[in-house]
């Protein structure tokens, strides 16, 4: 815990107080709940605990957004009121450790985990340095047993962790940052680029995001593994999804699992009498919250709602789709699977235009240009060629893991020469072709 706190203090010393305060609050409320027998009172304590834990997140991340929205609402009504704004930096990882703390509180209430009496264990859980900045959003049920059983990591942990980190670096530096050069060049000047270039940038953006957050998650999981901790995976080859629901079971798994357990399941259970409409409402609310979590902007909230709508439509049509697939025996048809993967990818890429744009007018301009303004492609030969090579490597690995997990092993090969060759190939790929001067990880802003 001390090491995690020192790590955090190096980055944002002042906000260490906030992290400690959230830890103390979480610890206090769980201990309080433990000493109460009355269910209603326990429930009230949990609700108050959630509210108190959410306060800093609201204050730092959403205050200005709500404040500006109210101001513009007043202005549109002709009332000239200016609300105070906060000019403080967003505490690193606040969205992650807040959700982890809430998850722990709810798990204690549901008696799914026992209350942890050691405040240092709670402190380590919420501040664990590999995951505190960008997740995955871990669960108390997975972490506390590992914290209690903590011992020196074994050699196998070191090698497994190092392999995960190596692939994470490749995804981040060779895939995400390389694609980022092209995407940034196009999106930073939407007005100047034609629809063809914007369409390519929009299509590449999900892969960049996958490389970025997926790569960073692997770095975090690998670093934790080196210390002997097994952290939940965050991505599972999302671009081999044949439906949106399947996609969301493979993309940012820790967040979606959190939202499913603490938002979707309780709502759909409460609305079970409404049958399909209960599920639809639960999906919309869940992904609305997902949008809000991703960013304090209307475009991002709209992106979240789009995912909710798509999943709702898919749920409503699920039976018809199943019948269709069975009638024509499509479930194992390679071409059908391929087309479904492409359709899911394109739909997700389209919604991401709203997720990544700073305003509706910018997003609408991109969409309008994609459909109306064809032209020659903005080319950066070096970037596109290198991106293509890196994408082939990435998709080869994901394809193999998805369909032939036991064949063409590289990092896990039994032959040491193959293993060493693949490690060295990736290391030199990173050194020679990685974008080593890039800025921050995109997801740090969450």
């Amino acid at each position: 815990m001390a090491a995690s706190y020192v790590f955090y203090a190096f980055l944002q010393p002042i906000y260490l107080i906030l992290l400690a305060a959230v830890t103390a609050t979480t610890y206090g409320f769980t201990r309080w709940m433990e000493n109460v027998d009355d269910d209603d009172k326990k429930h009230r304590i949990m609700i108050w605990g959630i509210v108190v834990i959410l306060l800093p997140l609201f204050f730092f991340k959403y205050f200005n957004f709500v404040d500006e929205s109210i101001t513009s609402l007043f202005q549109s009504l002709g009332i000239g009121i200016t609300m105070p704004t906060i000019r403080w930096m967003l505490p690193l990882g606040i969205s992650y450790y807040t959700f982890m703390a809430i998850g722990y509180l709810v798990d204690v209430y549901n008696e799914e985990v026992e209350v942890e009496h050691n405040v240092c264990a709670v402190g380590l859980f919420l501040s664990f340095f590999p995951i505190v900045l960008s997740g995955p959003i871990e669960r108390a049920g997975n972490m506390f047993p590992q914290i209690k059983a903590m011992e020196r990591s074994k050699p196998i942990d070191l090698t497994s962790g190092a392999k995960l980190m190596l692939w994470g670096y490749f995804m981040k530096l060779c895939v995400a940052d390389r694609l980022g050069i092209y995407i940034d060049a196009v999106y930073s000047n939407v007005a100047q680029h034609n629809g063809t270039s914007l369409a390519l940038a929009a299509l590449l953006f999900p892969i960049q995001e996958y490389g970025d957050l997926g790569g960073y998650s692997l770095l975090a999981i690998g670093a934790a593994r080196c210390l002997g901790f097994k952290i939940m995976p965050n991505f599972n080859r999302p671009f081999f999804s044949t439906s949106m629901s399947n996609f969301w079971r493979r993309w940012h798994i820790s967040l979606i699992k959190w939202l499913t357990d603490y938002i979707y399941t309780p709502i759909s259970y409460a609305l079970r009498s409404k049958k399909m409409w209960g599920i639809v409402i639960a999906l919309l609310v869940t992904f609305l919250i997902s949008g809000i979590w991703h960013g304090a902007a209307l475009t991002v909230i709209c992106w979240g709602l789009m995912q909710g709508v798509l999943l709702s439509v898919e749920s409503i049509l699920q039976n018809k789709r199943n019948n269709f697939e069975e009638k024509y025996k499509l479930k194992k048809n390679g071409l059908y699977i391929f087309i479904c993967c492409i359709v899911v990818y394109v739909i997700f890429a389209f919604t991401e235009i709203y997720g990544m744009s700073s305003s509706f007018s910018e997003a609408n301009l991109v969409v309008k240009k994609i459909f109306t303004q064809r032209g020659s492609l903005f080319m950066d030969n070096n970037t596109l060629l290198l991106s293509a090579i890196m994408l082939v490597i990435l998709f080869f690995k994901d394809f193999r893991d998805e369909f032939f997990p036991s064949k063409l092993q590289c990092f896990e090969a039994k032959n040491i020469a193959v293993r060493f060759t693949s490690y060295l190939a990736i290391i030199f790929m990173i050194l020679l072709f990685g974008v080593l001067d890039a800025g921050q990880f995109i997801y740090f802003q969450f």
């Binding site: 060493f420 060295l424 290391i427 990685g434 001067d437």
Partner: protein, 313 residues
């Protein structure tokens, strides 16, 4: 036991890494030796400046110099061999390091340097530091380049042990240069901008805040002093930009002008030249002239340079 085995494997792995890394370094050295005899291009310009060129007039700067100064026109007018070694996106610190390295080997008669007060601002420091990797080839041979490269980060000195890291993102660039072969480089480093496929710009407004980086000011001062000490004539030029801006009246703008005055450096400032500023069809974008604009600009800049050199003599 398992730990010992792991350590042994790790040692073998490190040995292999060092061996391959060294091999990669040798391959790049071989590529560089071949590429240096080819015309100026991305990735080879600075190598050529430091190791090969022997022209009378050398033009330094970033994209505004690369796309706006035509060596053949200068050669015809002045009768002195001229080369344009400016690179897109290059910063003053890099240019200063390369100028210093060149002066150790070759002293041209004239250096024309497109540099302005933006180069001594702190605002673009992070971008500038990122671009220091262009100086990697000189890391071991020059203390200024060495120190500038190390500004990239606290652990840069460790990373620089790797030859592969030093040549990060160079391979394709180098292959491109080599694949072009020894074409006839009549433009001598000048790269005309595309004349089709862009809209003429609308005049921009740029407001700079007072922002002076003293370290960069000192580096500029030191470089000017080095050039003057070597008996080379330095002419600082500023080409027209299609904008309204307050750069010259900012703290850094005043410091820049006062430095040039103090060191008695010729400054041909055409930033707001009315001969070009009223016509957007002469610009590719607000920072760069197009080919038509360059023709007009060269038309009055070259006589000014000629006049200045005659006065000097």
């Amino acid at each position: 036991m398992f730990m010992k085995k792991l350590l042994f494997k790790l040692m073998v792995f490190i040995a292999l890494f060092v061996f391959i890394d060294y091999g990669i370094g040798m391959v790049f050295t071989h590529f560089c030796d071949k590429a240096i005899n080819l015309p100026i291009d991305y990735g080879t310009a600075y190598l050529k400046v430091v190791k090969q060129i022997d022209d009378d007039i050398v033009i330094f700067g970033e994209s505004r110099a690369r796309h706006q100064y035509v060596p053949s026109l200068i050669e015809d007018a002045l009768g002195l061999s001229t080369i344009n070694v400016a690179m897109d996106g290059s910063y003053m610190s890099q240019q200063a390091a390369v100028i210093r390295l060149m002066l150790n080997r070759h002293i041209p008669k004239v250096i024309i340097w497109e540099v302005d007060a933006v180069s001594i601002m702190d605002k673009f420091r992070n971008d500038e530091i990122d671009r220091m990797s262009d100086l990697n080839p000189f890391y071991d041979i020059d203390s200024l380049s060495h120190n500038l490269v190390l500004q990239k980060g606290d652990y840069e000195w460790i990373k620089m042990w790797s030859r592969a890291y030093r040549n990060n993102n160079c391979l394709l660039r180098m292959i491109r240069v080599l694949s072009k072969g020894d074409y006839n480089d009549t433009l001598k480093g000048y790269w005309p901008v595309k004349t089709k496929g862009y809209k003429y710009p609308t005049k921009r407004d740029r407001i700079f805040e007072d922002d002076l980086n003293n370290e960069k000011l000192q580096l500029l001062k030191m470089t000017i002093a080095d050039i003057q000490k070597s008996d080379c004539i330095l002419i600082i030029v500023n080409s027209p930009q299609y904008e309204n801006c307050n750069l010259e009246t900012t703290f850094q703008g005043l410091a820049f002008d006062s430095l040039l005055d103090e060191m008695n450096v010729a400054h041909l400032n055409h930033h707001f030249d009315s001969r070009l500023l009223e016509d957007s069809t002469l610009f590719k974008d607000c920072s760069h002239l197009n080919a038509k604009g360059v023709e007009i600009y060269m038309g009055f800049l070259i006589p000014e340079i000629k006049q200045f050199l005659e006065n000097e003599n």
